[in-house]
């Protein structure tokens, strides 16, 4: 069964990335959907309220089977088209029309805030930096270190994430209500950690862009 939430997220993120970067890669849709989910947790949503799950792949990229199915379904129904190889996607006019309709649905609209905040980080941070930073996220980091897939938003990693978010909340204070601010502060912190870790391990600088 098609997940309405994953379908909505896929179309909204594809639209948003399209406006900021041009066409969107499928991996970027998964990345920003996961970031949006984390931002909902930042605002005290239980992780289960996101209504679909993520896994961390061994390269540190987040992946959701529901999102993948939704993207495949959107490609099939013409809401998205593949415009380049490999997997660069573009929202069609039909997809746009559906997205507009779905934005008006009350059961999906609470997600919009998090999805848009996640995509808005692209205004201030390069996508490569965001990808590198997310690799240091407490759930994804172990997948990279162990070089094996992990379920995300479970156990100790979730506890660690709450610790991060407590610290970010204290840092940004009242500005936390503009989600883009805590999101950017947190990603910058993660990127900084990635750079230090990389320097410590290999003496080389982390590249982004």
């Amino acid at each position: 069964m098609l997940s309405p939430e994953a379908t909505f997220d896929a179309l909204l993120i594809a639209d948003s990335i399209q406006q900021k970067l041009g066409d969107a890669a499928e991996g970027e849709i998964h990345l920003f959907a996961y970031l949006a989910c984390l931002l909902s947790i930042f605002e005290k949503w239980p992780a289960s309220l996101w209504l679909y799950t993520f896994a961390g792949l061994q390269n540190g990229a987040p992946f959701s089977a529901e999102l993948h199915n939704s993207i495949a379904s959107c490609l099939n129904s013409g809401d998205l088209v593949a415009v380049a190889i490999p997997d660069t996607l573009r929202l069609t006019s039909v997809g746009c029309e559906k997205l507009t309709f779905m934005r008006g649905l009350g059961s999906l609209s609470p997600r919009t805030r998090y999805l848009e905040a996640a995509c808005s980080t692209l205004r201030s941070l390069p996508v490569g930096l965001i990808r590198t930073a997310m690799g240091m996220e407490p759930g994804l980091r172990p997948a990279i270190i162990a070089r094996s897939a992990r379920s995300l938003l479970t156990g100790a990693a979730l506890d660690q994430l709450y610790d991060h978010f407590d610290a970010v909340s204290k840092t940004v204070g009242n500005q936390a209500r503009h989600l883009i601010i805590p999101a950017s502060v947190w990603l910058s912190y993660l990127f900084d950690t990635a750079r230090k870790t990389d320097r410590m391990l290999s003496g080389t600088e982390v590249q982004h862009g």
Partner: protein, 664 residues
Amino acid sequence: MPATLVEHQLHMPRLRRFRIDRMSIYSKKPTVDVSFASGVFCLAGANGLGKSTFLAALNYAITGIVPDPERKFESVPEYYAYSKDFADNYFDGRVNDADREAAEVTVEFVVGSKSFALTRGIFERDSLRSLLITDSKSGDVLLNGAKLTPRHREERYASALAREAGLTSFDQFVFLQHFVFTFDERRHLLFWDQRVLEQVLYLCVGINSADAHRADTLRRDIEKADSLVRNYQWQATALTDKLKQLEEVVESDVAADRAYRLAVEHRDLLRERDAATSAVIKAQERKQDVELSFAQLTGQVATLTSEYEEAFQEYFSARQAPRSHPLVAAALDKAQCGICGAAGDDVRSAVDRKLQSNICPFCQSPVVEKAKAPEALKKIDKELAGAREKLRNAGERVQRLAAELKTFDEMALKIASRVDRFEREHSSVLNLAEVKNPTALHRTITGYREQIESLLKKKETQRERREEKKKELRQYQKDLVKQYADAEEVFLPAFRNLAQSFLGLDLDVHIDTKASGVSLILTVTDTARREQYQLSESQRFFVDIALRMALIELTSREERTACLLIDTPEGALDIAYESRAGEMFADFVLHGFNIILTANINTSRLLLNLARLCGNKHMHLSRMTSWTELSEVQTQEEHLFIEALSAIEAAMNTVPSPQKRVHA
């Protein structure tokens, strides 16, 4: 009454054949069937192949138990009774569920003048699947258990075996088989367990087995009486303290005032406790109500979500044709025909025109728009959004009420604990405050005095009983020491020679009687080594094996056919001691006794020397590597096993040079 000194000989099993069916860990060998000739039977296997399991299964077949390494030895009957259940745990991971029914062990052995053949289900306590007892010389059938019930077969087997072994009970046989005639993975050491060693001495060295049983019972009775003495004394002391408090209260007006104040304080505390308990109950009720509502809302959201997903799916599929078709969408977006490849705005407008006219751009058929799904979807969406919001609120309420309940619980626990502490500290005074009646109070005091007197009497009775039993036991101990003095002529040289052939040091053993019982003291080159740490762990293993060998020689010196089971003994010996250990084992075997040995396949000097000294005539090597799947590492390095086994077999095939026999 005290022991009759007898010439004491035991008849322990001379194993002939052992068969294991459906032990799942032997995945490549559903039936393991081995025969035991005289001498050494060495089962050589790699790590994790089930060598220890083989010996445990063999002993299980004979005794019906697998020893629990965690169980402390208290007495022979208790050890047997309490060890019966452990076999299930032991074999549970070694036999697959599908094989539980079929899994069984069959063993054939000779004890005294009788041959026993029996089969046991792996998971069947106190019962035998088959039993046949025959005369070992004539072959005449003495007992065919075919018509008996499984439990009856076990009973008949146990009594016949105990009788034939020269013991009073089957549990004595089981005890000896597990503690003397087996050195298994538990690595239980006789020299350093006085409790077990004393019982071993009673059975092997000393008196007749009935008296050994009596000594064992006495030891246990003494402990029980001792425990009761301590228990009665403790109760009497506790009551005396209470009595003292009461007497103080009675004798003092000040204390009476204090009692009143305490009673008031107690009443207030109880009220506080009741209030806290009531708050907890109310909070529980509130939480239960909200949880019920939460459950209802969860169900509602689940139903609506399902309807919503269906409507969503319908909405998507309704909009799929024809404008949503990828080819049409591509034509509209990219202005390119996905069928013929034509490109340009003409393509886009031609396709768009057809669609506007509700005509399929491909086959020109009229297109009938499906029912508008969005309205239905919007309706369900509105309900779902509302229900989800309610569910979220209910979830938050549940959490808040759970936190509230926790706080009330903690408060109630604190006050309950205060009440408890208060009542404990002032129990006698509170009783007084409640009684408020001098006559009743005096009755309580009298009652306490009577109880104390009764407890002290009971304590005295138990103390006397303990002393009587100690006296009786001392007589058995004396007899044991006397009997040891006779046995020493055989036992000591045997032990010294065996142990010296291993350690290369002068060893001595003498019997020692202390309040705690009789034990053997080992001295090495005149230094008393009563503590374990003075010998290395591996040295201790072999000294203990030497002790068992000497005991076996002592108890079976007429028959000389008994069998010692040894599980992977090599441990961490250096090459010199390995070689000596091999000599020690060979010496035992060349004196007519038997060893069933499991060993890791390696080129240890123990195996090589044992093989060289025993030769083909007295040693049989059985390879275990084909019984189950080897690990990846073992498979990769299998040539090493082949080389090691070949070296052992080559050593068996060399004609032994005239060897200096260590064992006189």
